[in-house]
């Protein structure tokens, strides 16, 4: 089964490019015939002369980024984007969600849906659609939200996963909080799951772990691509009976998104080292998993600076009711977790720590809440790699911060005239704030 990727806006297109690079390199790494075939079928289509063409649609309201991405793909020599799989306009969305959603979205709706349909028709069977975008700008966020809406209408029975990049807290775009609030509130109704990467977090990973002196967006995107790849590449799951899983999106959703009120997913990946140190590093599963578990419950996204003081609360015997006193400060309660292990000796890994009921909320039994995929094939040159996809309170604080900042600005009605002139009223803003406060409240009560 195949996945169609829709890359929206500058960020979506730049991340998408790195993503396809990572998975194509991974698939071509050494002789792993069945694995490679599975990747190629899932993400690429093959032309008559053996070229690999990514199953992707590139959308942007200005042409520069798309032409760069297409050129870089061709340069890689191993794969490329389809000749007619992109759509761009001349003038961008001006960082204005309302411009993207109310003007550009509807104006180009037919063309965009058409492009996606052509890509979907090239698949034997569609596993689902991944939309990659940022939330801070105008195109990725505004046009992306509108496009998700159209795709939801066009493919009501397919899975749609939105991959979002959240901006730096200290601002890349001044109205980023407005754009983020509007995007998230709308996507919550439309998407099946929302997988989030935050620029701040990934930046820290680049700085501390990978030792990159001058971090560029390309470095950040490579880390994001690596983490995404570790989730979406072929894996052996509980249900797949010894062959690679057919529909990773379906299994991801069924494992993690069990309640429509809880759709925010975050990623934790270990190890993350620079390619130069990789040769000198030796990892054991027990070490990796111990760190990963602590990273998860203390909500740190990297191996350095983990707070080991945060402990899981002890449940009373037969304890079903989680009282307030058990909610320790800094402890990240999960609704559901998915652990993905790839590499050598994967079957010897001890994963009991993740099945501990104290990690999870009281109303979902741990045996339901936890799933695991173990694949004996190495990923992206890492001898052992573990990823935890989790539906937990990890994003609660950043979300709360974002909504708080936006509300602060909204109180003085700053910049609102820029949105109202395209058709987004103050009521729309209030609706969005309300729905996100609801999400925040639900996650706080886990």
């Amino acid at each position: 089964m195949s996945i169609v990727t829709v890359q929206l806006g500058q960020c979506g297109n730049q991340v998408g490019l790195e993503f396809f690079e990572v998975i194509s390199n991974d698939a071509n790494d050494r002789q792993r015939k069945v694995y490679s075939e599975c990747t190629n079928d899932r993400f690429f289509s093959e032309t008559s002369n053996g070229d690999l063409v990514a199953r992707a649609v590139l959308i942007d309201m200005e042409p520069k980024v798309i032409s760069q991405s297409v050129a870089k793909a061709v340069k890689s020599g191993k794969w490329r984007y389809g000749e007619h799989s992109y759509f761009s306009q001349k003038q961008g969305s001006g960082n204005n969600w309302a411009n993207g959603y109310c003007v550009h979205g509807p104006r180009h709706e037919e063309l965009v849906v058409d492009l996606v349909r052509k890509e979907v028709e090239r698949c034997d069977r569609l596993a689902g659609i991944i939309a990659m975008m940022s939330v801070a700008g105008g195109t990725g966020s505004g046009v992306g939200t509108y496009a998700t809406q159209c795709l939801r209408d066009a493919y009501p029975n397919s899975f749609i996963l939105n991959h979002l990049t959240w901006p730096y807290g200290t601002g890349e775009v001044i109205v980023q909080n407005y754009n983020s609030v509007l995007t998230l509130s709308h996507l919550y109704q439309l998407s099946d799951a929302i997988l989030v990467h935050e620029n701040d977090t990934v930046h820290k990973i680049c700085a501390k772990l990978m030792n990159i002196k001058h971090i560029s967006f390309s470095d950040i995107n490579k880390v994001i691509a690596h983490q995404l790849g570790s989730v979406l590449q072929p894996a052996l799951t509980g249900d797949s009976n010894g062959v690679y899983n057919k529909n990773p999106l379906a299994e991801l959703m069924s494992g993690l998104v069990c309640h429509p009120e809880y759709k925010l997913l975050s990623l934790c990946n270990i190890p993350q080292v620079s390619s130069s140190s990789m040769v000198y590093s030796v990892f054991t599963w027990s070490g990796l998993l111990k760190h990963l578990r602590q990273m998860h419950i203390s909500n740190t996204k990297m191996e350095e600076g983990i707070d080991w003081q945060v402990r899981a609360p002890c449940l009373q015997s037969g304890g079903l009711e989680r009282t307030k006193s058990h909610r320790r400060k800094g402890f990240n309660t999960s609704l559901a977790n998915l652990l993905i292990l790839r590499g050598k000796d994967v079957y010897s890994a001890e994963i009991g720590g993740f099945q501990d009921p104290s990690l999870y909320t009281s109303w979902l039994p741990a045996v339901e809440a936890f799933s695991i995929w173990k694949t004996p094939v190495t990923f992206n040159k890492y001898e052992k790699s573990a990823t935890l996809v989790s539906n937990s309170q990890a994003l609660l604080q950043p979300l709360d911060y974002m909504v708080g900042k936006a509300w602060n600005m909204f109180a003085s009605r700053a910049y609102i005239h820029q949105y109202t002139k395209y058709g987004i009223s103050e009521e729309d803003f209030l609706d969005s704030f309300t729905s996100l406060e609801q999400v925040i409240s639900s996650y706080s009560l886990l």
Binding site: Q10, Q14, E62, P63, K64, V65, S67, Q68, Q89, K90, Q91, G92, G94, N95, N96, G138, Y168, G169, T170, G171, E172, V173, I174, V175, H203, A207, I212, K213, H214, I215, S216, F217, S218, I220, V403, G404, K405, W407, N408, M409, A411, S412, A414, Y415, H417, Q418, F433, T434, E437, Q438, I440, S441, L445
Partner: protein, 470 residues
């Protein structure tokens, strides 16, 4: 690729505009040193095809840049037609008259405005039709005279009527206190009203600041220290003649404004990892429709020619951008309130350098309470000619208030005595009411800025969030 149209009005506007086209072509030819004509080019933003023999490019085709030159006396425009840019413009783009506006805003706005309205609109429409995708109009003019100020603001009104969706960015040169035009306060205040109502974004520039910057650079280059020799052609004030080459008197100052316009559009013309388009500038820097006056600063001002001296550190560039000496108006933004700030970086600078400097400078700059992280950033891969990197900072800051207050005071001094008023009132269409309205508009603008300033010292509590029933 989006296009912009440049409309230059009046003597000052045309002289600055001239410098602008000169520098734009220089940048264009520098980037295309190989001489191979490349389709996706920087000049596409400003002209359909733009190759010019003088700049050693392929003389494939010479077609005109998207510009409209307006002046009510012929001297300046004639000079352009005899100078090196004569091949670049064609006669239909020039709209001229003979006698000038006599430093009278009313003559420029009402008399010439109504007389030339059809011609101007016609030419604008023709120019706009040549554009695939018109994104913005740049209006360059001065505030103190008659044509630039009066006819310029009339053109602004026309642009709003005919092309309401296209962004209008205005570079206005404000007169200094010792201006030789006696009626410049009247002209400026009358023009201010139009700018507040009809422009999307205004970049005020003060002559005095430009003079200071020019003097600083000249001082550097003449000081004679071997370590401080400025590399040829890199100073922000140099045109084709270079820093010490023969230049016309205002050329050095005009080059600064020209560089400002080039840097603003750099992201639209060249690739970068974080693009910043013109409509994004208007979107992010204008929180309230009337408060659209942006303080700009450009760094570095020059590159030292002695290669053994380490190039100005990147961080120094960021610090300079916020210093009083680099601003293009006489104001100190650090001691007033920032509403929003945009940083446009050109050259080989990565996002981590940008972030580091923002974090470093952030605590020293007072931001308004509801926009504590109000930064808009852009990274463009191509640096300007002669530099390895450069920074343009645009800030929406309450320090513009001081410029406006000075203007209002000078206006009041003249108006109290009703001095020179009769020249204006004699013009058809002009009444005394215009003066009072303009003055009121300026006062209320100043009041808005003052109110925001007042919030600076007060501790504003965060507004309470919505409560969800659980």
């Amino acid at each position: 690729m989006t296009q912009s149209v440049v409309v230059q009005v009046g003597q000052c506007g045309n002289q600055v505009g001239c410098r602008f086209w000169d520098l734009a072509l220089r940048e264009h030819s520098h980037v295309n040193k190989t001489g191979i004509y490349d389709e996706a080019l920087s000049m596409r933003v400003f002209g359909r095809l733009c190759a010019c023999a003088l700049y050693s490019l392929l003389t494939d085709a010479i077609a005109s840049p998207q510009a409209v030159l307006v002046d009510m006396e012929e001297g300046v425009v004639n000079e352009i037609l005899q100078g090196p840019l004569r091949e670049v413009f064609d006669s239909t783009q020039l709209i001229t008259d003979v006698s000038g506006s006599g430093n009278n805003w009313a003559v420029g706005h009402w008399t010439y405005g109504s007389a030339y309205k059809e011609v101007i609109v016609d030419q604008l429409r023709k120019t706009a039709e040549h554009c695939d995708c018109l994104q913005s109009f740049f209006l360059i003019h001065s505030m103190g005279g008659g044509t630039g100020s009066g006819l310029g603001t009339c053109v602004l009104k026309l642009l709003e009527e005919e092309f309401p969706e296209v962004c209008r960015i205005v570079a206005s040169v404000y007169p200094s206190a010792e201006d030789d035009v006696v009626t410049s306060p009247y002209n400026s205040v009358l023009a201010m009203r139009e700018l507040t109502e009809h422009a999307d974004c205004v970049l005020p520039v003060e002559n005095q600041s430009l003079v200071d910057i020019v003097n600083k650079i000249k001082h550097m280059s003449y000081s004679g220290n071997p370590g401080s020799m400025i590399k040829k052609d890199t100073a922000i004030i140099s045109g084709r003649g270079g820093v010490s080459g023969a230049q016309k008197p205002f050329d050095a100052m005009n080059n600064i404004i020209a560089n400002l316009l080039l840097n603003i559009t750099s992201s639209a013309r060249f690739e970068g990892s974080l693009n910043m388009d013109l409509n994004e500038i208007a979107m992010n820097l204008v929180p309230f429709p009337r408060l659209h006056y942006l303080v700009s600063s450009l760094t570095p001002l020059y590159t030292l020619s002695d290669v053994s001296i380490p190039t100005r550190r990147l961080d120094q560039m960021f610090t300079d951008a916020f210093s009083k000496d680099h601003q293009l108006i006489r104001a100190d933004p650090k001691h007033s309130l920032y509403l929003a700030c945009a940083l446009m970086v050109r050259g080989n600078v990565q996002v981590s350098d940008l972030r580091r400097n923002i974090e470093r400078l952030r605590p020293t700059l007072p931001f308004v309470s509801w926009n504590q992280e109000g930064w808009k950033t852009g990274l463009c891969g191509v640096p300007p000619v002669g530099h390895s990197h450069s920074l343009l900072a645009l800030a929406n800051n309450t320090c513009v208030k001081s410029t406006f207050m000075e203007l209002r005071d000078r206006f009041a001094k003249l108006y109290r005595k009703k001095a020179h008023l009769h020249h204006y009132l004699l013009v058809d269409g002009m009444e005394q009411g215009c003066f009072t309205e303009a003055s009121t508009s300026l006062s209320s603008l100043i009041e808005e800025y003052t109110q925001l300033d007042a919030t600076k010292t007060r501790m504003i509590p965060d507004p309470t969030r919505l409560n969800i029933a659980t």
